[in-house]
Symmetry: C2
Subunit: 275 residues, 2 copies
């Protein structure tokens, strides 16, 4: 593809305007589409056969190895490519960096019914999550520990928010992800024999004293309000992250990481059982 009369250089172009509208949550929810910005993110989406509606390309900006590989992959799957000027691409992109590629994709399904719990479940549940960046960081951590799934209970952001995709570096496509209400999630966990371990500041036991080696879900409350009363349930086991300082809580993605990496450690062959 070379620069030619076919290059869109007007931000008033209807397809460009439609893509810009996808920054708005309501528009994403109505159309079932979202934006993927960046080479690595797009490669990971394509590796999971995410459906690309069309993609904006500014060929002169496609320079890195990931971006070039993503462009090749888009061409291989026969995606509709729209060449745009760098200025127009900057309008469609939302990050501070861009790899010269922004794709409009169909958001993957997130039904809880479609989720497999896996052989040795290690699930993450986040309730009422507000910040897409935190969801993205949690997906990255879930990927790193080989978690079975991430479940967003009553999220206050749409999970395929472009900033969540970006913050996840595309792992949001490779780790199984579902959305449901908190009580549906608890029922699902119980039904699949998965013990819910709820992170609470007032839990009697610290995470280092608890067996995290079995089929478990780490359950984390929202940044602002903590966990709702759904998790005050005899089937839920509270667990505490010890805090030595002035504050009584951690960033939710940090809390997730501490518990998930401890669970991973306990699962590794030869790990000393701590409790």
């Amino acid at each position: 593809m070379t620069a030619s009369a076919d290059v869109i250089s007007s931000p008033a172009n209807p397809r460009v305007k439609a893509a810009v509208r996808l920054r708005d949550r309501r528009e994403r929810e109505e159309t079932g589409l979202t934006l993927v910005d960046g080479g690595r993110e797009l490669l990971r989406a394509l590796a999971q056969s995410v459906e690309v509606d069309h993609a904006f390309v500014s060929t002169e900006l496609v320079v890195g190895a990931d971006a070039s590989a993503a462009l090749d992959a888009l061409q291989r799957v026969g995606a509709s490519l729209i060449e745009v000027s760098p200025a127009v691409l900057a309008k469609v992109a939302f990050g501070d960096r861009s790899d010269g590629l922004v794709a409009v994709i169909r958001t993957p399904p997130v039904a809880l019914e479609g989720l497999a719990s896996g052989m040795h479940p290690l699930v993450v549940v986040v309730e009422a999550l507000e910040k897409p960046g935190n969801l993205g960081a949690i997906m990255r951590t879930a990927d790193a520990v080989g978690a079975s799934a991430v479940i967003a209970a009553d999220p206050r952001t749409d999970v395929f928010n472009p900033n969540a995709i970006r913050a996840s570096v595309g792992t949001i496509f490779s780790v199984p992800l579902a959305v449901a209400t908190a009580s549906q999630v608890l029922d699902w966990l119980v039904g699949h024999g998965v013990t819910a371990m709820a992170a609470r500041v007032d839990a009697p036991q610290a995470y280092g004293e608890v067996d995290l080696g079995g089929p478990i879900a780490i359950v984390l409350g929202s940044e602002a309000g903590g966990l709702t009363s759904t998790w005050n349930d005899p089937r839920v086991r509270p667990v505490r992250i010890p805090m030595l300082g002035a504050a009584d809580s951690l960033n939710v993605s940090v809390a997730a990481a501490i518990l998930l990496f401890e669970a991973r450690r306990q699962r590794s062959p030869g790990a000393a059982q701590r409790p």
Copy 2:
């Protein structure tokens, strides 16, 4: 204080305009001032005797316990309080939530020379950090594990960026914080007998196999570029966080948390030494 003719309701008021300009990094650096938004943040700043230049208050919005306590504390230290309308406060505030209080403070000193390494140092070094939200999350984690200090090496954000303060929930004031170049930081660590443990994806040893119980600094690279060559030094020990998934890196604040909580675990009385 009651609503009266003294209430500023014009966003064109010179003090309001000056505060709004503090959203700009250059303005913060030129004036040596920054903005603290929120009750808990302000309480933690005042607990460390941070110097308040003046504060904007919208009394009808000061409803929570933290906000009320912060307003009392501001009055106790004799801070200059400027009553403004809720609309003007919203203009000065930068978060999505506000507690009815925004203070203009003098940024605390961050010279490396002023930093004490402590009796049993557990230091965090972050190089070329770009995102204020990540710095804030790291400060929160450092506070939680009782870390001796956080050092920002060649940061690409000003450390007292209002978003860093906000994301730290005010712990940025309670945990010792310094800024220096990477080579100054390495010299400081060596000079204080602190072993630099650099997080690297290609390190031969995983963090669970390494003794993190001594005087150490956890050293983390930037979100985009990793660590610079300053840390390719025989005095620096590389350490790896095992990654099982598609991606080869974690969010920097997540990586910091995993290593810091493991270091904390190894330091706790009765902890089994893992290596």
